[in-house]
Amino acid sequence: MIEFDGISKRFPDGTLAVDNFSLRLPSREITVFVGSSGSGKTTLLRMINRMVEPTSGRILIDDEDVASLNPVTLRRRIGYVMQNSGLLPHRTVLQNIATVPLLNRVPKAEAVARAHELMETVGLDSALAKRYPAELSGGQQQRVGVARGLAVNPNILLMDEPFGAVDPIVRRELQEELLRIQRELAKTIVFVTHDIDEAFLLGDHVTILSRGGHVAQHGSPDEILSNPASEFVADFIGADRGRRALTLRQSEGRTLVVDGTGRIAGVLGAETATGPVSVGAGGRDEHLGEITLGTEAADLPGLDTPGELGSSSEAPGVDTTSPNSGELGSENEAPEVDTTSPNSGELGSENEAPEVDTTR
């Protein structure tokens, strides 16, 4: 368990990057710090392995104050993956992965064997072992970065926007891969990103940070989506617009789900009206592809008379045969509910007072 206890950080130039931040990150789960630049998310991450020292407050790893530990030895037992991979350009793939074990004086043969093993874990062809980082694609470099982060079999893995610099398709692959690896290895992962979709896809817990390291909201993706704590959060997660602002529309006897851009997101299965349903988009069932029906929405009388919802003017020209449409609630088929985002949003209905308003 990692615990932030009243952490503040003021940089020499006077900027208050983090102001009295306290949070417990549970072991063996992924906690995502998400926020725009200046939210102090990277600063917080770097305090865990003492790349940045807090001005005040304590950070505890399993009840041990990191300030009492030698920073170099501390870093050698914490995995770190960064943007643009941060690979050592003068070391081969294999040498890069074996770097920290060798620093820890693991015998060379053992370190090399482990590195080969890790290449397999992260899905790298062993033919790449002798290549230099410059000879790899961005996605491959990032995989090497992840393998290196796992090389000492650390309990904790820190990931600083690790997939920020690769193209969207490769990013999706890497995200899926990370979830697969996490299902096998169950590390305590702290993941920093500015991408809310990535946060909701990967995070067991998501901490949304506003300027100065203030926690705007902390919770599971479900909790945050169904119950944004403030207008800031609602705006940040895009709850009331775009892909997450889903509405229902009646067409030829079926209920269509329409997103905020007017695109058909899918067809509502009959059973969904009774509560949250996993649509099985091929990832982690708790978050990926799940349409969270807010309780208000589920209980809403309006759902029984979907004709009202169908009057939404946002989706002209509805066509059930559109390639965009998918069968919500179907188990076998990957629905088109959300082709661009790993997460689907809150399914709201037109005549419902949004949650945001009640907390305002």
Binding site: M51, V72, R75, Y80, G86, P89, H90, L103
Partner: protein
């Protein structure tokens, strides 16, 4: 040509002296410049001060510096130390800036990554920073090597007999062939030094070849395409 064969052993002795006078300034210049270059890279004051001094040093006329050396060092006039010290100063003047630039171009992100992995500062310098600055430092050393080998000929004017002796002797005897032998010999030494430095660089910094290899591959591909 017969002159060369008749005097081959003498010329060879001059070559050896020339090499003996050239190597120490190059090595000393390198050893002194790398830490100074690092300071210039790391500290703002260091950059301003060191690079200005280096620039000024290089403007001192070489012959004047060599002649002034005995006074500065308190050595004998014919002591080879004078020449070596003067040429070391020139080597440093050239290399400090290159070394500073070499450290500047090492990606701060890579250094950051090295710290995050658990490199201590000392180990990080030797195993990450210096190797990554290596290719540019090697390039700078090649320049210094050529410049030093050519400057050693000036030693002949103050009694240090490298191949420069063939210039002075040839001039006095109005015998251009001897001067020519001196020039060719100096150039050959410079080329061989350059080759040795390149080979050392390749051995120490194998990764720096990757990009070149790749470009070559690209060029070949391009060639093939054009031919087709």
């Amino acid at each position: 040509m017969s002159w060369l064969f008749e005097n081959l052993s003498d010329v060879w002795a001059l070559v050896l002296t020339h090499v003996a006078l050239s190597v120490p300034p190059i090595l000393l210049g390198l050893i002194i410049s790398v830490p100074l270059g690092w300071v210039a890279h790391r500290y703002r004051w260091g950059r301003g001060t060191l690079l200005t001094i280096a620039g000024l040093l290089y403007t001192i006329p070489s012959l004047a510096l060599i002649i002034a050396m005995p006074t500065i060092l308190g050595t004998q006039i014919l002591d080879p130390i004078n020449l070596i010290a003067a040429l070391t100063l020139y080597a440093v003047a050239l290399l400090v800036r290159t070394a500073a630039d070499a450290f500047d171009q090492v990606s701060p992100q890579v250094l950051d990554a090295a710290t995050a992995l658990g490199y201590g500062p000392w180990r990080r310098f030797w195993q990450v920073q210096l190797p990554l600055a290596g290719p540019i430092i090697i390039a700078g050393t090649r320049v210094v090597s050529s410049s030093t080998v050519s400057l050693v000929t000036l030693g002949a004017l103050v009694g240090m007999s490298g191949l420069g002796y063939l210039f002075t002797d040839g001039t006095q005897r109005s015998f251009p062939f001897e001067i020519g032998v001196g020039i060719v010999g100096t150039v050959l030494i410079a080329l061989i030094f350059d080759l040795i430095i390149v080979l050392i660089g390749k051995a120490l910094l194998p990764w720096s070849r990757t990009r070149r290899v790749r470009n070559k591959t690209n060029a070949e591909t391009l060639e093939v395409t054009t031919n087709a």
